[in-house]
């Protein structure tokens, strides 16, 4: 019974979001647009039902904001790095595929993290190993030597830590060591 309620809520939220997008695309919230949006939303949810996800802990807004802020800065910096690589007179790319183990990953965490990595220039999620909770990331340029790979892995793990603080389960957050928890406590 409880499952039904959760499913219904999820569906209604989705219909609401779809109606909002519809109204946004038409550009005005006239009654006809709102009704049309709701109709399209219900139709889509009935025709193309999403797989329902099991509950995965709650999202912590402040920590999510921190994640988004860090990500935005990272995005700009990484863009400039790739621009520099493109404009370099002599190309020098040391490409690599790096394994990044994600601690106690839920599907939501893996999705958020994989997308953030793929959006950041210079890193691209190639493969997701769900059973082992590992992301395989293609890196445009790891720099010189074996420590380059470790540097890239460490920087991705920094993003992972922020993502866990934002949407991770309780136990994955407890798994973070040392200073990790301090940022997210409210």
């Amino acid at each position: 019974m409880k499952g039904h309620v959760a499913r219904l809520t999820a569906h209604l939220t989705l219909v609401g979001w779809l109606a909002l997008v519809w109204v946004g695309l038409w550009g005005s919230a006239s009654p006809a647009n709102v009704l049309g949006g709701l109709a399209v939303g219900v139709g889509l949810v009935l025709l193309l039902p999403l797989t329902s996800l099991p509950p995965q802990g709650n999202v912590r807004p402040l920590a999510l904001l921190h994640f988004v802020g860090f990500f935005a800065v990272d995005l700009v910096r990484a863009n400039l790095r790739v621009v520099a690589q493109v404009l370099r007179p002599r190309l020098r790319l040391r490409q690599a595929v790096v394994a990044v183990p994600v601690r106690g990953a839920s599907d939501r965490l893996l999705t958020l993290l994989a997308n953030a990595i793929s959006l950041t220039p210079g890193t691209l999620t190639l493969e997701v190993d769900r059973p082992r909770s590992t992301l395989y990331v293609h890196v445009l340029d790891v720099g010189d030597g074996p420590e380059g790979v470790e540097r890239v892995r460490a920087s991705i793990l920094r993003v992972e830590r922020l993502a866990i603080l934002a949407v991770g389960s309780e136990e994955s957050r407890r798994g973070l060591t040392g200073d990790a928890g301090a940022g997210a406590r409210r």
Binding site: V82, V86, L87, L93, V97, T125, Y136, V142
Partner: protein, 108 residues
């Protein structure tokens, strides 16, 4: 003032798109080209939408630009992931050029 700001945003967005196409020409294989072609254009598009949002008057048009940005952020990484994964699995992506390949090592 608004005009200057939005011009700066539009121009830097366009400059990023230009570097993206340069990278597409210069980079040697599927993976490096994916990096060049997909990411700077995403940030470039964001800058262009912000620049354009400063210029349009109707709130409805701003919402449309916001939707453009949101869907770009949602879809670009999925597309990049699918192409990269397919390229790796089919061997189109040159694995020999990789300095380190921990995915290949794990599969062995």
């Amino acid at each position: 003032m608004t005009d200057v700001l939005s011009a700066a945003l539009l121009l830097s967005g366009v400059a990023l798109a230009l570097t993206a196409s340069l990278g597409l020409l210069r980079f040697p294989d599927v993976f490096s080209r994916m990096h060049a072609a997909t990411k700077p254009t995403t940030l470039g598009l964001l800058l262009v939408t912000v620049g354009a949002a400063l210029q349009v008057d109707a709130a409805g048009d701003r919402v449309k630009l916001l939707l453009v940005a949101a869907f770009q952020l949602l879809t670009a990484p999925v597309a990049a992931h699918m192409i990269g994964r397919a390229a790796y699995r089919t061997g189109v992506g040159a694995r020999a050029d990789l300095v380190v390949d921990e995915l290949g090592d794990a599969a062995r």
